[in-house]
Structures are given as structure tokens and as C-alpha cells.
């Protein structure tokens, strides 16, 4: 098998580039903890309303944890509870969400917060909210006729401004 020398150069360059991408992603993930949602907790989706923390959806200030707020979201066809989320600028927030029926998405448009919500599984993501404004939350996984009625709003308020 004969390989032209330019092809060798190109493959070295190409494979090198892919390896570089993987190293950058790997450092981000395993050194700095930038993982996408891979939540491990499970529960009985039919009893989810009785199970903490989903018995009390909403924004909760917490103490003594690595984050300042916990935002608990319960998704169902075709609704997010709570319908609106307000957090202060600069807060470190843990989003904790699940679905009580079919698969839904939880995407905060214009941010990196984007996760699948599946019945029986708890999805989690921690973010430092460093930009003020209103961010639309949409369901981005088809869940039925009312799929696009399913939205919410993240309001990030700057405490120094008001």
C-alpha cells in the first residue's frame, strides 16, 4: 500500500488537530469540571411530586454548598413548574430538573444550559450566572402537540441596578 507524502502530512495535521480538540475538551471536562448533564439520581416518576426536592419546585437559596441557589424544575406536558425563574447576577446556581411524563428538553436559549429531562432521571447542571437579562427557556425535545407552548423565563437581575 502506497501513501503519497502529502497525504501523510495532511493526515498527521488532521489527526493532530483532532487530538488537540480532544485535549482541550478533556482538560475542560476532567480538570475544570465542565461536563454536560450526566445526572445519576433516579426516582419513581409517578410519585415525583412527593419526592424531595420536586415536592417544592422553585428557586431556593442554600447555605454551605458549592453553589448559592438551587433551582428545582418539574417539567410535564406542556408546562414548566416554576413558570419563571429569577436569580441575582453573579450567583452560582444548580439547576435540578426532571419530567413527570414523557421526555422533555430544558434549554436556556443563549446559554450553555441544555439538558434532556427524562421520566425517572434527575438532570443537574451547575452554572455561574454572569450575564444579566432575560433568557427564554424552551423545551427542545418533541413531546407532543403542545411542544412549543412549553416555555419559561430565566430572569437574571443585577442587584446593584435596582
Amino acid at each position: 500500500m502506497h501513501i503519497h507524502k502529502y497525504e501523510k502530512y495532511f493526515l498527521v495535521f488532521g489527526v493532530g488537530t483532532l487530538v488537540a480538540f480532544l485535549i482541550i475538551l478533556g482538560i475542560g471536562a476532567f480538570h475544570q469540571g465542565s461536563h454536560p448533564n450526566s445526572g445519576k439520581k433516579t426516582l419513581d416518576y409517578e410519585k415525583v411530586k412527593e419526592i424531595a426536592p420536586f415536592d417544592n419546585p422553585g428557586v431556593h437559596k442554600v447555605e454551605g454548598k458549592d453553589w448559592d441557589y438551587e433551582v428545582v424544575i418539574l417539567a410535564s406536558a406542556f408546562y414548566y413548574n416554576p413558570p419563571e425563574i429569577e436569580v441575582p447576577l453573579g450567583a452560582k446556581v444548580k439547576f435540578i430538573a426532571t419530567s413527570e411524563d414523557v421526555i422533555h428538553g430544558f434549554e436556556i436559549a443563549g446559554t450553555n444550559i441544555n439538558m434532556m429531562l427524562e421520566p425517572g432521571y434527575v438532570s443537574e447542571y451547575v452554572a455561574e450566572i454572569n450575564q444579566a437579562g432575560e433568557f427564554l427557556i424552551v423545551c427542545n425535545e418533541y413531546c407532543g402537540t403542545g411542544h412549543t407552548l412549553m416555555h419559561s423565563m430565566l430572569k437574571v437581575v443585577d442587584p446593584n441596578e435596582s
Partner: protein, 552 residues
Amino acid sequence: MSLNKLTTVDRRDAKLALAHIYVAFIALLLGGLAGLLQVFVRTGQFTLPAGIGYYQVLTVHGVLLGLILTTFFIFGFQIASVSRTSGTFSDLQRRLGWIGFWLMTIGTTAAAVMVLLNKATVLYTFYAPLQAHWIFYLGLTLVVVGSWVGGAGQVLRYVQWRKENKGSKEPSPLLSFMVVINNLMWLVATLGVAVSVLFQLLPWSLGLIERVDVLLSRTLFWYFGHALVYFWLLPAYMVWYVIIPKVIGGKIFSDSLARLSFILFLLFSVPVGLHHQLTEPGIDGTWKFIQVILTMAVVVPSLMTAFSMFAMFELRGRELGGKGIFGWIRKLPWNDSRFFVPFIGMLAFIPGGAGGIVNASYQMNQLVHNTIWVPGHFHLTFASAVVLTYFGAAFWLIPHLTGRKLTKSINNLANISGILWAIGMTIMSAAMHIAGLLGAPRRSDYSEYGGAQQAYDWIPYQIAQAVGGTILFIAILVIMYVVVKLIWFAPKGEEEFPVGDVHESSGPTPPLLENFKLWLVILVALILFAYTVPLIDIISNAPPGVKGYKLW
């Protein structure tokens, strides 16, 4: 050997191949119409008549174009290719082909009827716990089983060639070798979705079992789902590697490298499915990352292909007197639709591939997951690179099989369809990519999302998608006209089935490349490595199963 004697496809094999191609182009027309309706709805200016739902139309679009156009065209092309390069099918092999064809056609019809009756508005990915009518799952099962039976006919013909040419120094016919690789990959991949449908979704929709493990069904689906896209892509690569060189009057750049890249696709297209589930709960991040690494490995054969294509073009262009670094480009046969239309597809694969690497980049997937960037991406890779290559192949394959000629005027029309496609897709796909980065979700009806500013900002891009989509539909109409001409009305004659010869500098093909047992063992080992631990995790940590929902 006897390779060059087999220049035409036997009439009986041609009939079988044509039957598949007819179904494929009917699917193109109907699926394209569904796509047109979708982009109109998404402008907010148009409402579907007669109570038809947006997601029903979306299901039609996905099933017809993603599953039916592809599988049927691929089989038509592969049957003709094996018959042309390995030899005429035996009666048994051809009968398997027909049984496969009818199983797939009956299955398609059954599934389509359920979608039209609004009993299966679950999109072509049919994610549980949305529950379709059992006939829909049964129909899709028939399509898959039919593809196994039909594929067996093709593989058996290749096995027969190997037996008849035992001890021959020459490698097996390249095109047939590639067909066998694609069938093997398809078989291994469809096992995942077959297990999910037969043991989970079908009994569940029949009421035999009450609950289903949602994450397991999704993981089995995506074990299949990424190989599915390579099943679409490999026939396009067959055209690029083997057919195009002959069309432009050149040579196959390297037989060995072509085989090697197909083997790499076989090995790396299955153990990568988790990259479709990067933002999903219940799957360990480390295993997601391992499959991301394997996904990057599948980029390598595409890099090799890019080099081989340019090299094949450059060698030919220089032979024709092209000077300087890029002078050879002008020497290529730009007026020949058999080359020009697939070439547009090759160009589309460059941004398509670049976007694909972003999709697969682990945490960066959060930027684009389930946004309309994703359909923007696969309308470049699949709905441009792959289908334009299919069309470019159809322009000579159909007349070859029907005993007609691709005339100059039909050829020009074919080129126009390619140009229209390029324009329409550039507009539509660019708008989808940009809107996706702004957060616009995929698979979504028109919505103002309660008057949110961000949703308002997406609307101009939706209008651009409608403009692009309309141009694409016009392109489809032109293609349908060309296809109808080539089937029934073009002048009688002999149209060549072009099969390239290998370039002299390519060197001999190592027999190792044809050792299927070895590659299958490596494939199974890779799959076991990539999936055993995640699957054990998913099954052993499973929460209670989920009942079916019909929310449409």
C-alpha cells in the same frame, strides 16, 4: 480478470434495482412536499389545512426521506453495483432481493398509513414513552428485516465471486467489497434498534408489557442511529471513490486507501452512539467522553476521502493540461451532471463535517443540542452531500437500467437542479445554523414563546429557511422531471455504468484489507468495549419503567 466484461447489468437484476429506485423517488417527492409545508408553517404566515398537524408532517418528512428514500435508493444502487462488478445474481440471490423489496415496501406502507391516520406522530426517532400504534413499529420492523434479506442477496453474490476466484492475485471488485462493508455495518447496527423494537416497543404498544425502560430504548436507538447515517453516506462514498473517476476520465486514486477508509467506517460508526446522548442523564460522563474519542476517529476516513478526491481531480486535470497550483480545476467536466451534481455534494460535506465535529465535542454539544443547528448540519451532510450524490448516480443508473440515454438536454436540466439545490440549501442551512446558535429549537412548530424577544429574533431566519426550502422544492420538481424522463421518455440507447480503474501508482492491495473475519472481530471488540459498562449501568440503575403516552 473478467471484471471488464461485465459492463451491463443483467435485465432481471435491473428490474429489481429499478423497483427500489421507483419507491425511493416517490418518497423524495412526498417527503420533499412535507418539508415545504414545514418551512411554510414556521414562517407564521401559513396554517396547515384540514386539521393536519405540524408534527404529523414532520414525521412524514423524516420517515420518507431519512428511512425510505435512503434505504430504497441504496439498495437499488447496491444491487446494480454488485451485479455489474461481481456478476449477475443467481435465482436465489435475486429472489432474496425481491422478498426484501416486498417486505420493505409492505412495511413502509403500513407505517405510512399509521402516520397519515395520526396514530404514529412520534417522529422518525420514535422516542418512548410517546407510544405509536403497534402497526407503525411492526412496519418499521418489516423494513429492517426486509433490508437484511435483500442485503443477504447482495452479500451472497460477493461470496460467490470470492469462491469462483479463489487463489486469484487480484483483489475482489472494489465496488462489491464496499457494498458488503455497508451491509455488514447495517446488520450490526440494526441489531440495536431491532432489540429495542422487538423486546420493548412492540410488546409495549400491544399492551403485553405495561412499562418500558426509556433510557435503554434511547441508547439502543442511538447504537443504531449513528451507523444509520454512515449507511446513507457509504453509497455516496462508493460513487465518489469508484464512479466519479471514470466519469471524469481519470483513475481511482488508490484501491487500498479506499478499502481502508471503508473498513475504518465499519469499525468506528457503531461504537459512537452516545455522542447523540451527551446531555442526557443516567449515562456516565467518562463513557460519553470515550465515545467522543471514538467519534473523532471516524473523522479520519473522511479526511482520507477528502485527500483522495482532490488528488483524483488534480491528476486528471493535469493530464488534460492543467497548469499551476489550481489550473487543473478548470479542466474538469463541469457540464457533466454525473460529476457536477455529486461535486456540489462534496463541497457541502466540508461545512457539514466541520459542524459535525462541533456537535461531537462533548461539553460543546450543549451549545447546539436539539437546536435547529442540528437539522442545518444534517441537511448539509445527508440532504446535500449524500442525496446529491444519489441523484448524480441516478442520472446514469436509471437510463442504464431502462435502456435509455442521458441526453444533452436532460443533462442540462440535471445540472440546473444541482445549482438550485446549492442555492436553496445554502440559504436554508445557513439560516438554521445561525438560528441554532441563537438557541432556536429543532422539531418545533411556529411559536412566539409568549412574546419573548429571543424568539422574535429567530423569525427572520425562519423566513430565510422558507425561501431556501421553496428553492429546494423547485429543485426536487426538476429532479422528478428528469427521473420521469429517464425512466419512460428518454431516447432508447445504451448508457454507461461507469466503474473506474485503479491508478498505476496506487500499488498492490494488501490481502489483509479483505479479511472480513479480522475486521468483524475488531468491530465486536470495539462495540463491547464502548457499550458494555454503560449498558450495565443503565440496566442496573434503572428507575421504574414508564407507561405509554399519546400526546398528539
